[in-house]
Symmetry: C2
Subunit: 485 residues, 2 copies
Amino acid sequence: KAQQYGVTPQSVDFNDWYNEVVKKADLADNSPVAGAMVVKPYGSALWENIVRWLDDRFKATGHESLIFPTLIPMNFITREADHVEGFAPELFTVTKIGTEELAEPYVMRPTSETIIGHMWSGWLNSYRDLPFLHYQWGSVFRAELRTKAFLRTSEFYWHEGHTAHADEAEARAEVRMILDLYHEFCRDVLALPVVRGEKSASERFAGAVSTYSIEGMMRDGKALQSGTSHYLGQAFSRAFDVKFQTREQKEDFAHTTSWAISSRIIGALIMTHGDDAGLMMPPNIAPIQVVIVPVGRKDNFDEMVAEGERLAAQLAQNGVRVKVDKRDGVTNGFKYNDWELKGIPVRIELGPRDLEAGVVVVKNRNSGEKETLERDLAVGGMAERLEGIQAWLLQRATDFMLDNTVTVDNYDDFKAAIEAGKWVRAFHCGEPESEKAIKDETKATVRNVPLDDAEFFAEREEGGVCFHTGKPAAYGKRILFGRQY
Amino acid sequence: KAQQYGVTPQSVDFNDWYNEVVKKADLADNSPVAGAMVVKPYGSALWENIVRWLDDRFKATGHESLIFPTLIPMNFITREADHVEGFAPELFTVTKIGTEELAEPYVMRPTSETIIGHMWSGWLNSYRDLPFLHYQWGSVFRAELRTKAFLRTSEFYWHEGHTAHADEAEARAEVRMILDLYHEFCRDVLALPVVRGEKSASERFAGAVSTYSIEGMMRDGKALQSGTSHYLGQAFSRAFDVKFQTREQKEDFAHTTSWAISSRIIGALIMTHGDDAGLMMPPNIAPIQVVIVPVGRKDNFDEMVAEGERLAAQLAQNGVRVKVDKRDGVTNGFKYNDWELKGIPVRIELGPRDLEAGVVVVKNRNSGEKETLERDLAVGGMAERLEGIQAWLLQRATDFMLDNTVTVDNYDDFKAAIEAGKWVRAFHCGEPESEKAIKDETKATVRNVPLDDAEFFAEREEGGVCFHTGKPAAYGKRILFGRQY
Ligand SMILES: [Zn+2]
Ligand SMILES: [Zn+2]
């Protein structure tokens, strides 16, 4: 009977668990468009919170939003050779308007470096115009065969940051600043511990000089690349003639960057914080932090709802995002299950006898802990309770990541660890052929080379030989391997 | 020399004035994609303010945001006959992914009634599930040959509201509630007086039973339809099988509505509030309400900038959106002109002698009035000053609309009035053939039939015959004609 309400346990089938949670928690649904999803109200409210936090930070760090067209002339995409190679097979292509064939087709943007480069070329004259610190929110389109809500969809949602600078140092500082901003957002808002690092050459963005990522571990041990920040050098500037007069009156091409966090991050959040009962939504991003369930019988249900709304008003006044479950005609068990599945951090039950006694029953979604508290104490202590839940989630995820990462020095141990769903820290020679052979055999790839000041896995070690080829290790430290989403 | 900085005066060429203002005020630029624009930082900041105000109100009135796919299967569009007739020639059509031809093409949404109807059909079972109060923000795509930034672009930005109800009365109440919300937004936030009314049959949305609009008058006398709210009856529900079990255990189709305000509203704002010097941004929506221009010489410029920032901090603390113009190497004249063109409601000049005297020079963009004020008074009185400017703008636009609307009773007077760039109030028989003949000859169309409680032009009059056909008048009142954007 619990099964009837609930979802397949994570331990039975993580994939089924994920798909059921997405649907039953009202996050997203399938659509009739190949590979595209429909984001439902709870998922949309979550995404809006994510957008708002990031948008405020982009503005606070001096960036400006713009809106570029969704369509891009096909010949723009083909102008940067690595770029087209990366995206060509996935491009939705517009060949007609009405019944009229277009002489030059358009593609629906898979990313906007090209058209933004084209526009910049018209806007840029002198070093005084730089930097351009631009970003936009919108959809991008990359055809996917096997889709999975939030994680892999043909249309997904993101911001794409695009900046142009007079020199490499300033551009690289931007790339790093954004990577750190992403890391802070994941840690402090989403309670996601992530490893900051640089991608290996084979895993770079199509057209980039350096790609940095943040990588998180899902509860099945797989990695999810949760954000990227690229230094693009002058490649796109050369392709789109983004040049300027330098302080020294010479002509130079701008050094550009791009960076993104997409709606995939919602997938990361679900797969990091869930348990067998469903989601656990981090309080700092939760659309609803506290749900009040009035527990009445037919004759006093309305009265209990009214009382619930009074309590909600008190909590809202303290800045808590709160909802009263006023549904009639469904059981309390159904309601409890529903809110647990949706991962509301705190549930308050309010019954007639509690009301008389001046108490409420408070239950934390994360620990299952249930307490009967004086009403004023419950209200006054809510902010601290939510902070506690936020910290608990980050700690659980961090412990899980550390517990499931192993250090290996030979290929047999590597394969065993990967097969067991772990991340691996190992020395590697840095050769793309070796990476490819490892990937073909184990499905594991280099997640990243942790930065020296990343909080996890950053230690430098002397010497070391590649666990795979036996050649001298590159990077001066162990790097991170894992299977990925 | 003023001309070098400035724009073509409105009286010389309103169209040139508009295009130059859009570009020089950094609102938007042309793009390499047929008919699509690029919205630049100032335009984007303005749009974000519009989005935030409306979004807060949609949520406050119980609506939920969702995200539906940008693509729609071609066969959805063709399913509702009137709908496809309205949109077919304008549809951007995706026929390929990579090099692979699609068996069934997709169109880029011109609006989303069809795909939303399809999804609702899967979500709706019982009257208990209703109403659905949904909306989404995003782009839509309708090919345009002659484009004009914000007003007529192949890709534009909007919210589209979509709601489903158990009966007609509730659906019609929603349509009206939204129309009133739009009217309030235009009046109180954008300082745009608009006429609420119902469209004639020939001007209805493709597929609607009733279309309501708000119409504003631009400074060249043309009308701009600034928002629409449609009662769609059961047409889309029948086409997409959006049915439910009623309270009486019968089966019925939902009554649906849709409504939108788009990025066209920015065009309305520009063309209502401008003058020969450029824009006048209403304070309640202005990205920047006050600009501080430090007026120093080389030896004390930095000091004046620092002082400007102290002043800005004081204003910001009072909730004023303020910017300090720190640009070095451009003249004060250039700066003044630039901010006037952008329509910043209030400019504060801060010079070394003012600083000594404890005063600042404050200039209102709307009236050109300039005062020297004690600094504390300028800060303390800023909120009231901004309110005054907001009210001034609404009053100017209202006077202009009323002054340029004439009442006529015969076709000769009608033609003369339309030719002179006026709106016309007249009795009309309601026949589509007559509307078409009038449009062919004069380019004027029925703007709307003002609602009985609209604040402008709502008076009922007994009798009356059509100024065009001499037949008995429909509607029981004079209706509104004009040329439109
Ligand atoms: Zn190797
Ligand atoms: Zn007539």
